[in-house]
Amino acid sequence: MGALTRAVRNVSRRKMRALLVIIALGFSMAIMISIPAGIVANQEATQTLATNFNSTMTNMQLEINKTSTLIECRTSSGSGFSPSGQPDRPGFGSQQSEVFENETIIEEILSIEGVKDVVPYLEKASNETTTEIITGPGGREFTITRSIYTIEGVCLNSKFIHDYSILPTNMTSGRNLREGDSGVVLLSSNLTSYYGMKVNESVDINGEPFIVIGVYEPSGQARMQMRVAIMNLSEAQTVTGLTGKVSRLDVYANSTSYVDEIADVIKAAYTNLTVTTYKDRLQNLENMQTMYTQTVSNAQTTLSQTQSLATQEILIAVAATSLIVLFVMLYTVRERTKEIGTLKAIGFSGWNVMSQFVLEGILISFIAGVVGIAIGSVGAPFLSSLLLPHVSLFGGSQSDRFRPSGLGTTGIAESQATTAATLDPQLILLAFGASILLGALGSLYPAWRASRIRPAEAMRYE
């Protein structure tokens, strides 16, 4: 018959009281586990985001440097954002906001002094959209709505193919498009996996049969890649019902000295076109950099505020729990004064009595620790999102303006991040230890008081 057995029996015979302390301590411990887990998840997400931003910026800078003579002229077509409107061909609606230019514009622009070449494109997103959940940095999840695929028509001219890299280079199977190709389509690997297609298989695009000639790996971050079908420009025009239309023109100047002049002429003559030059792209890149730096900085500020709030919340939880344990144990000591007197009368020392009560406190906190781990394991994501402010890591959708050319467009229609808090075993052990320590500390004073009770007084207590 040891002190531990007595402690177990005492705890079990006062079930409601023990339950109260166990719940209080358990929740406190769950908070201790959940909050740091949430903070770590947010820290990792912020860190990954910052790293990705830097790498994206560097790549963009390199890309822009390579295209100093390029003047990009776009209509407002080809977007993957929630398509609507009356389709003129099934599957490819002519959106109200979409504007396409006639091919005749190519000759007009070529006649401008200093223009070397004009490379036309037709980009058209399918009407069908899909909502997908993708996992981002730090385990964050996003819900995005985008077109299932984008048709991209390119002018299969051997000079353009050779001089301006209008086709993707990273082929995974089959072959690339070449001059004179007809009735064939080049698909991005994510589109073939979406539809389960293979090279040399026949596909039907809006009633027109095509052979899959090759598959390429799209560039950029895997989770953000678009599904693209690249084909001959004239066939793209037929399939989309946009005969003689283009959505984008890459105008190449003879030298950088002509770029501004050409851009000004195009801007003045064709108001439907959005014209961007090397300088605009650099300016946009700087804007993006500022925006992303601000986003990361905001996230870091929120994170540091979160850490301070989390510390306060943990301290409050610890203090509240200690007080609960303290008062419950004080009440227990008061209730068991006569028992304490009896124990002392039959030879128990003050130390024996004190250790008995501390042991009971530790026992309760041990059980509470187990309960807390269970609550924390199940409810950590919920608790951390409930107790911590949301760390916003994406201020808006990412611009796709400076992607490597020829890959269509897409956008993040909706972006919602949730923190996936993962529990660290070390954290669990630490919180478990803290729970036991709290139980011991909370019962220390009541136990000390119990040990100081004079036996004669305790015996008189009713």
Partner: protein, 260 residues
Amino acid sequence: MSETILKTEKLIKIYSMGKRKVSALSGVDLNVNKGEFIAIMGPSGSGKTTLLNVLGCLDTPTSGTMILNAKDVTKLPEKKLCEIRRQDIGFIFQTFNLLPYLSAVENVELPMESTNRPKDERRKRARELLGTVGLSGREEHRPHRLSAGEQQRVAIARALANDPALILADEPTGNLDTENKYEIVRLLGRLNIDRGTTIVMVTHDSQVASHTERILYLNDGRITREKQGTHLMKKKLMCPHCGSKIQLSDARCPSCRKRL
């Protein structure tokens, strides 16, 4: 000459109640010999329980001296008093004071916990003691499943656990019906004769007190008179009423049928 187990001289206990001083014991001189069974009687407020608390080292006297088992315990610190309570004294309380969450045998084992006895030996002795007080077969019962008389028997077994030099009983029959009252007194008497246990019992029941060897009357914190009880005759296996031969186990005298 009998060996003195407990001796007090001019024992005084004064309680401070704010500015007021209340004298609970006003110079108690007491001599208890080894193997004696004595009763202390007195009206309410005469200082009986205070005297028992001081004798049991649960409280310290304001002045005077107390020698227990040849040790002066008057000025000992609490730690030493605790050892003395464990080794030399056994307590029996009016309200039994058993721990409700322990079985009978665990309650008896409790005082032995702080000794060096091995666990098995403690359990064995606790069972033997429960047998001695007539509770064989009830060892695993918790207090709420025992009658008042049985609970007091468990308390008596617990008091005997560490084989103390002195047993102090505070109104041990106060919460019992007549039948159980005499059963408990007879049990205490038998333990005194069989085991030579020295017993000091506080009671306000003269019938119960008469079954002891010596009755001390306490009044206003002083022992005012002393009287012989019937226990001495029983020790000689004689009926204190008619002088006939009796057995220790007899509840009534076989000749005169009077309660023993």
